[in-house]
Amino acid sequence: MRLYAAVARSSFRRYAGYRAATWAGVLTNTVFGFFIAYTYQALWQVRPHLGGYDLSAALTYVWLGQALLMPVAAMGGGVQDDIEARIVNGDIAVDLYRPVDQQVWWLAADLGRSCYHLLSRGIVPMLVGSLFFHLRMPAGGPATQALTWAGALLSVGLAVVVSFLLRYLAALTGFWLMDPRGVRQVTVVLGMFFSGFLLPLSLLPTALAAVAQHLPWAAMVQIPLDVFLQRRTGAALAAGLLLQLGWAGVLLGAGQLLQRAVVRKVVVQGG
């Protein structure tokens, strides 16, 4: 456990080292936030309460989405880049010697990265957005507010875990396909669209929306945002967290199975 904590810490520090990259990224998230917020505003002015969100909830959705984009790595990346590179250049063989669980090792590294991105590329765009648009913070009595914040933080944490487990599976396919780019592209497309990052899933055609709400990608953006916007409270809050937890469990198991197969495969290649 202390080992993995150390991995997470050094991963955090590694990303914190790139100052200019961080500021460039903050700028990008902020600029995109503005563009998307204006388009949402144009749509919600025609259709107030579209998809169950009022205008200020919809605008909050946009800026929270920008804030979560990098921490959750909805477009792929994070440690996925490192794993893929090590598979392609063969360094992964050295990793497999190490007496650690690969999946947990990389999860720790990705959590460290995610924390850094949440603090840097998450908070600043959100603050800028709140200066120019009317954003919604959790409402209600102190207990309700505290519950919402706690639920949202927990949900974001689970979002990162689910996202990592999906990216880990995608990266491992590189052992069989040799070139990870194709699978990567497919997962990016699915992740962007079905996470709810581009549009709230409730705006999709009804049947598709119902399915999409239960897929693992919904656990990455849609559920944490709905928890923060207090669209999921009480039983719905619990159901959302359970869905995230359930997908985390399934994907964790799949990752374990796949990495066991990988070890066998690499040994065969080496022998």
Binding site: Y18, A20, A21, W23, A24, G25, L27, T28, T30, V31, F32, F34, F35, I36, Y38, T39, Q41, A42, L43, V46, R47, L50, D179, R181, G182, Q185, V186, V188, V189, M192, F193, L198, L199, L203, L204, P205
Partner: protein
């Protein structure tokens, strides 16, 4: 050192260098044929997502900022086409910071060919044509739906739109790369102007705040890529509030952009210090 070449010879030599380097990367990428097709189609599908978002929005409304779906599709198609062409031609420049960090810019500078041509063609990726093809399809659909009365001036403005739009986006890529000589790990600044700008140009100008639109006319003049020519081509009133002849001023804007980018690139190259010095 041989005698300085005439500007004409220099341009010809640079284009030849570009062709050679790009051709080499093209052959390399076609060696992995399955991967090439997957990534090309994947590129097209990824950029298509933006249009899916617009289409989903129009499930809930008939106009956005006063524009209909075919009109917005025209903006989407022209924005994607010009960005896609610029990205195909010089998009590799956004990896310049990486090359400055690992010192491999040195290899480029010692070769007897224009650095800009070599770096622009570096890792030339035909798979980026995915966005171009996909944008052309959406543009084609919008033109069928819009049933414009094509006249000679309109055809001319359309051709100028594609050409000048590509030059303006290309200039942003070059200027962004020049900036990376100074800030080597700030490649993403460029994304906010290129991909961010292209996202903005997919929507009618009336959607955005006035100051933002003004910035796109007088700051980084992206409005000349498609917003202003579109007002003429689609016969729409001006929501931007600029002189009427601005609709035909894209060549001027493109020229200004290219000049500014060229100067920035020179300043960048001059200031380059190899890593380790």
């Amino acid at each position: 050192m041989s005698a300085p070449l005439s500007p004409y010879r220099r341009t010809r030599e640079a284009l030849r260098a570009y062709r050679l380097v790009a051709g080499m990367w093209l052959r390399a990428s076609l060696a992995y044929r399955a991967s090439f097709w997957i990534t090309t189609i994947g590129n097209g599908v990824t950029s298509l997502l933006d249009f899916v978002v617009i289409a989903v929005m129009f499930r809930h409304t008939t106009t956005l900022g006063g524009w209909t779906l075919p009109q917005v599709a025209f903006l989407y198609g022209t924005s994607g086409l010009t960005l896609g062409l610029a990205d195909l031609l010089v998009g590799s420049l956004d990896q310049l910071g990486q090359r400055v960090r690992d010192g491999s810019v040195d290899t480029v500078l010692v070769r007897p060919a224009a650095a800009l041509a070599q770096l622009g063609a570096d890792r030339f990726a035909l798979r980026r044509a995915g966005r171009v093809v996909q944008s052309l399809l959406v543009l084609g659909w919008s033109l069928v739906e819009l049933r414009l009365d094509w006249t000679v001036p309109k055809l001319l403005v359309m051709a100028v739109l594609v050409l000048c739009g590509t030059v303006i986006f290309g200039s942003v890529f070059v200027a962004g790369a020049a900036f990376q000589f100074f800030a080597t790990d700030a490649a993403e600044v460029q994304n906010s102007v290129t991909y961010g700008g292209a996202t903005m140009l997919q929507y009618p100008p009336s959607v955005f705040a006035r100051d933002l639109v003004r910035g796109a006319v007088y700051g980084v003049p992206l409005a000349f890529v498609n917003w202003l020519p579109a007002l003429y081509l689609l016969g729409l009133p001006d929501p931007i509030g600029v002189p009427g002849w601005f609709r035909f001023a894209s060549p001027l804007a493109a020229l200004l952009c290219a000049t500014a980018a060229g100067l920035a690139w020179r300043a960048g190259i001059r200031s380059y210090r190899s890593t380790g010095s």
